[in-house]
């Protein structure tokens, strides 16, 4: 979802940037005399004659294009605020019924699984199901002095294996955002 929005933003900005560059560049070139006389008016008789000849359908085309641009831009704008889907995760479906997993309960189990790993101080998990393709989002606080391969090994070999087994899938991609903190200093209790 995050990656798709990033890609859509880059494509949208590139398209708008390309249109502006081409239009601005052509107008600049025409004004500098690249296409013949630069002293003719911007809206000369040819332009006015074209719209006079083709009216009203040419104006309907302008209106439809403007509406299409406005609706596309509105969809693009709303996509920025769209949250990742967090509904029930479908494990299995068939003629006899559907098996779904509650994302909240499973996310807690995943977070507990992560927290049991070496060098993990705390963990939070979310399960996202975008069009039947579940993925895992993790926020982990890890001990800053521990090597990262301990954490990545635990996530890869234990946590994600459990998630894949539970959801009966070969692949469940995961993104882990890790904060590093000093491990809490040990307390000595004297009785």
């Amino acid at each position: 979802m995050r990656g798709k929005i990033g890609r859509a933003n880059r494509w949208g900005l590139a398209l708008v940037g390309l249109v502006l560059t081409v239009l601005g560049g052509l107008a600049l070139a025409r004004g500098l005399g690249a296409f013949g006389t630069a002293g003719t008016p911007i809206a000369d008789g040819g332009v006015r004659g074209f719209f006079a000849r083709t009216s009203p359908w040419s104006w309907w085309v302008v209106a439809v294009v403007a509406l299409a641009v406005a609706l596309s831009a509105l969809w693009w704008l709303l996509a920025q605020a769209r949250a990742e889907p967090r509904g029930p995760l479908r494990v299995e479906s068939g003629p006899t019924g559907v098996t779904e997993v509650s994302p909240g309960g499973m996310a807690q189990a995943v977070a507990d699984d992560v927290a049991s790993g070496p060098s993990v101080l705390s963990a939070h998990a979310d399960l996202v199901d975008a069009r039947g393709a579940p993925s895992v989002r993790l926020r982990v606080v890890a001990d800053e002095s521990a090597p990262l391969h301990e954490l990545s090994g635990h996530l890869s070999a234990v946590v994600l294996r459990h998630v894949r087994d539970a959801l009966e899938r070969d692949q469940v991609p995961a993104i882990a955002r890790v904060s590093l903190e000093p491990s809490p200093s040990p307390h000595r209790v004297v009785r």
Partner: protein, 218 residues
């Protein structure tokens, strides 16, 4: 007084200066999978360009709605006249293409377009420090602020260093360590080794240069 020591993690060649132990990871033998995982980690934390996207989409929505409203209202015989298009038409009919103001406006539009193209095509600095996971299905990012704190703590563990702070500028980590004021070279070396060791243990996907400044505090 300051001194600077530079090195990179991961090292440019296999005989690099850092002394971190090699990572022991699941499936380390598969270099293709590792490269795929590294690329996925870098891509996952690239800036999404939300601010420019929001600005451009808002402007395009307003412009599209305005043009559509003006055109359709004119076609049905009830022009809204939110835009003084009669005045605009007479200006365009009387102004030549070579008009300096028009040329300047065209140049601004071209530059704006080029700027948007650059924003779209330049990958940008990742919002987190992408780290090696060794698993193409697992992407790990380290929060930059906590990485610099961890590196500063590593520098502070060197005997004789009173305080240290670290900053990350692009792919350069600048560590400033305050010491007791003697044997500056040895401090520089030890702080550099400590920071490189900690940085190597974090297994960043991209190379980072470490610059150490040693300040003598009295």
């Amino acid at each position: 007084m300051t001194t600077q020591e530079m090195c990179t993690v991961p090292p440019d060649d296999e005989g690099g200066a850092h002394r971190a132990e090699p990572p022991r990871r699941v499936g380390t033998g598969d270099s293709t999978a590792r490269r795929t995982a590294d690329r996925a980690a870098v891509r996952a934390f690239r800036p999404r360009r939300r601010i420019p996207a929001i600005v451009v989409s808002v402007l395009l929505t307003l412009l599209g709605l305005l043009v559509a409203a003006e055109t359709i209202s004119g076609l049905v015989g009830r022009p809204l006249r939110l835009v003084p298009y009669d005045g605009m038409l007479s200006w365009a009919s009387a102004t030549p293409w070579s008009d300096p103001l028009f040329l300047l406006s065209s140049a601004v539009v071209t530059l704006l377009g080029l700027a948007l193209l650059a924003v779209a095509l330049v990958p940008g600095r990742p919002s987190m420090v992408p780290a090696r996971s060794g698993d193409p299905g697992l992407v790990i990012g380290l929060r930059t602020r906590t990485v610099t704190k961890a590196l500063a703590h590593a520098a502070e563990e060197v005997p004789g260093v009173h305080a240290a702070r670290a900053r990350m500028r692009g792919h350069t980590v600048v560590v400033t360590a305050a010491t007791s004021g003697w044997d500056k070279e040895r401090f520089g070396e030890e702080v550099r080794d400590a920071v490189l060791t900690r940085l190597a243990a974090l297994e960043p996907v991209e190379p980072y240069r470490v610059v150490v400044n040693v300040k003598e505090s009295r």
